[in-house]
């Protein structure tokens, strides 16, 4: 059963972050506890010692000492700076995922969690992760704001519609843990809970192979063809749009002179809002796919671009006719010369 049932006092400590957060908590409890107890003790002591006695006159004046005032102004300040720095270190650590994290794609919607593994497994309200490997969960929402919260891992991140956030953790104890939505999201907010299953690496591999449905990248390739992305983003000479090989994680120069890292958010934005950031040297001829493509399909595309190596881009769509049933896409004719631009996407270094 759930690990947390073992103790009603303290949640299970099942990730590397959890240990950091708990140590910080112990420190805070010690410092704040002693200050609190000191104040309580002094108040209690003064109240007893200086209680009003019958017949007592008015007490003498105590002159406030500026040195004392400054002492208890400056001292807390120094303690606070210390706490702040420690807290910031833990936060920064929890903010930046290690480079070798396993990417998992998560979607929150009223009122369920959906996850996709790079190997293609899909899960609802359950998330299987291996022990001792950093895992990064990329998160987005299909409707309102949710929040991804695993108490045992001490990780927490709001899940926003139309935007990516991410959270990472490295599990340290096998077992089953709660996954909660902690941002109020409607009627069944309390029912938007799931289970995180931490497995030994070998068991996890086993589980992966048992539930394999073809990798997410392969899925993404299908999406790439289904929406006829390939008719422009093709490997043919004179293609009408940049080749996307080796794009993921690299710097893209934009036509307004700025640069941007081609991360998950950039790819998503370029699909839904193609005019927002245009690669240098290209005209924006791409229609928006907002309302046509689902969040899951975007995730698949991202996984596909992550895996796309040089020379793997499919050729133009004529060679690969789209599957039947694809919704017609509002393609526009390119304005002016289409291929006058130089390839702006940096090739593999």
């Amino acid at each position: 059963m759930f690990e947390s049932a073992k103790s009603a006092w303290f949640p299970p400590e099942a990730s590397t972050t959890a240990a950091h957060v708990d140590h910080l908590l112990y420190f805070l409890l010690t410092v704040c506890g002693s200050v609190g107890l000191l104040v309580a003790f002094l108040m209690f002591y003064f109240c007893i010692k200086y209680r009003r006695r019958p017949g007592a006159g008015r007490p003498a004046r105590t002159h406030a000492s500026h040195a004392l005032e400054w002492f208890w102004t400056i001292t807390p300040l120094f303690i606070f700076v210390g706490i702040f720095i420690w807290g910031a270190v833990v936060y920064v650590d929890a903010y930046h995922a290690p480079a070798d994290s396993i990417p998992i794609y998560g979607i929150g919607k009223q009122w369920m969690w959906k996850f996709q593994h790079p190997e293609g497994q899909r899960e609802i309200n359950t998330l299987h992760v291996p022990l001792g490997r950093p895992v990064q969960v990329l998160l987005t929402s299909e409707d309102v704001i949710h929040s991804f919260f695993i108490p045992a891992f001490r990780v927490h991140m709001d899940v926003l519609p139309n935007r990516y956030t991410s959270v990472w953790f490295q599990a340290t104890r096998p077992g089953e843990y709660h996954l909660f939505c902690s941002q109020y999201c409607g009627t069944n907010h309390a029912g938007m809970i799931g289970t995180v299953v931490v497995m030994e690496p070998a068991d996890f591999e086993n589980w992966l192979s048992l539930h394999a449905e073809g990798s997410l990248a392969l899925e993404g390739r299908k999406v790439f063809l289904k929406y006829r992305c390939v008719s422009c983003h093709s490997a043919n000479a004179g293609a009408r749009a940049p080749v996307l090989e080796g794009l993921y994680g690299n710097t893209v120069r934009l036509n307004n002179g700025r640069t941007v890292i081609a991360d998950d958010a950039y790819i998503r934005e370029s699909i839904l809002d193609p005019g927002a950031k245009i690669a240098a040297g290209w005209e924006n001829i791409m229609p928006t796919f907002r309302g046509q493509i689902t969040e899951e399909e975007i995730y698949a595309l991202i996984a596909y671009f992550r895996s796309l190596q040089r020379g793997q881009t499919p050729r133009r769509v004529e060679d690969y006719p789209p599957p039947t049933g694809t919704p017609p896409i509002n393609t526009k004719t390119p304005e002016g010369g289409t291929s006058d631009g130089k390839a702006s996407v940096p090739k593999q270094p």
């Binding site: 809002d273 005019g275 927002a276 924006n284 928006t288």
Partner: protein
């Protein structure tokens, strides 16, 4: 000729007015003297205007935020606003502020009939502003610039706005309507206040010693003017207009 006029000379009337009527009727019990009361009222209006700054500031902040997010689209949308009428209205309000200043100046030198005339001019220019504004709103309506009510996405695509970015156009226009709408509401309140002051002036409510409500109304009117002076460039002049 009233009984009052037959009994007292003008100077005596003024003394009576100042010392009995003013002291009894104008001065509220919590104040030591009329100047004390007037200064407090003016201070109160300044504090109130500080809250108004925050009120409009939120809207300016929103415009700024979306301008940073999508500068080209917002500037393109701004081009469609009628900057000529906006410019005329800026002049109208500036002149009305001048009239307000003249009204208060006349009050200070106790020329009550001038006060009345200038107040009417102020209010008249305010009404003039609202008429131009109404005309502009009508033109906006004709040009499909009302998101959620009368709006044509295809037009904006033909103006070179990417289909996926039309949302920003709508937000900008929405903020335009909200900001100019709230400003127009303030102008309307201001006109009513100025007209009330005009009536009070006509009834001989004010004198060189006591014109505090006029002063406070003037502050409010100038503020409404200043808001427009910031609002005009922030909404109308984001893009480069060509004649």
């Amino acid at each position: 000729m009233s009984l009052k006029d037959t009994l007292f000379t003008e100077a005596e009337q003024k003394a009576l007015f100042d010392h009995t009527f003013l002291a009894r009727e104008r001065l509220e019990e919590q104040y030591a003297s009329l100047p004390h009361q007037s200064e407090t009222a003016a201070f109160g209006m300044w504090v109130f205007l500080a809250t108004e700054v925050m009120f409009f500031g939120t809207l300016f902040l929103s415009v700024g935020a979306y301008w940073c997010l999508a500068p080209e689209v917002i500037e393109r949308a701004s081009l469609e606003l009628n900057w000529i009428i906006g410019g005329i209205n800026t002049l109208v309000l500036l002149v009305s502020s001048l009239m307000m200043v003249l009204a208060i100046h006349s009050a200070q030198i106790n020329r009550q009939s001038d006060v009345y005339r200038y107040l009417l001019l102020t209010a008249g220019l305010g009404v003039c502003f609202l008429c131009f504004k109404a005309l502009e709103y009508y033109i906006d309506y004709r040009e499909n610039l009302i998101p959620g009510f009368k709006f044509d996405e295809a037009e904006w695509v033909s103006r070179g706005v990417d289909a996926s970015q039309i949302g920003y156009v709508k937000i900008f226009l929405f903020l335009y309507w909200t900001m100019t709408g709230f400003h127009a509401l303030h102008v309307t309140i201001g006109i009513v206040a100025v007209l009330v002051m005009a009536v009070l002036t006509r009834r001989g409510h004010f004198s060189a010693e006591y014109y505090s409500p006029l002063d406070v109304t003037g502050l409010y009117w100038h503020f409404v003017d200043v808001v427009w002076i910031f609002l005009f460039p922030a909404l109308y002049l984001l893009g480069t207009h060509r004649l």
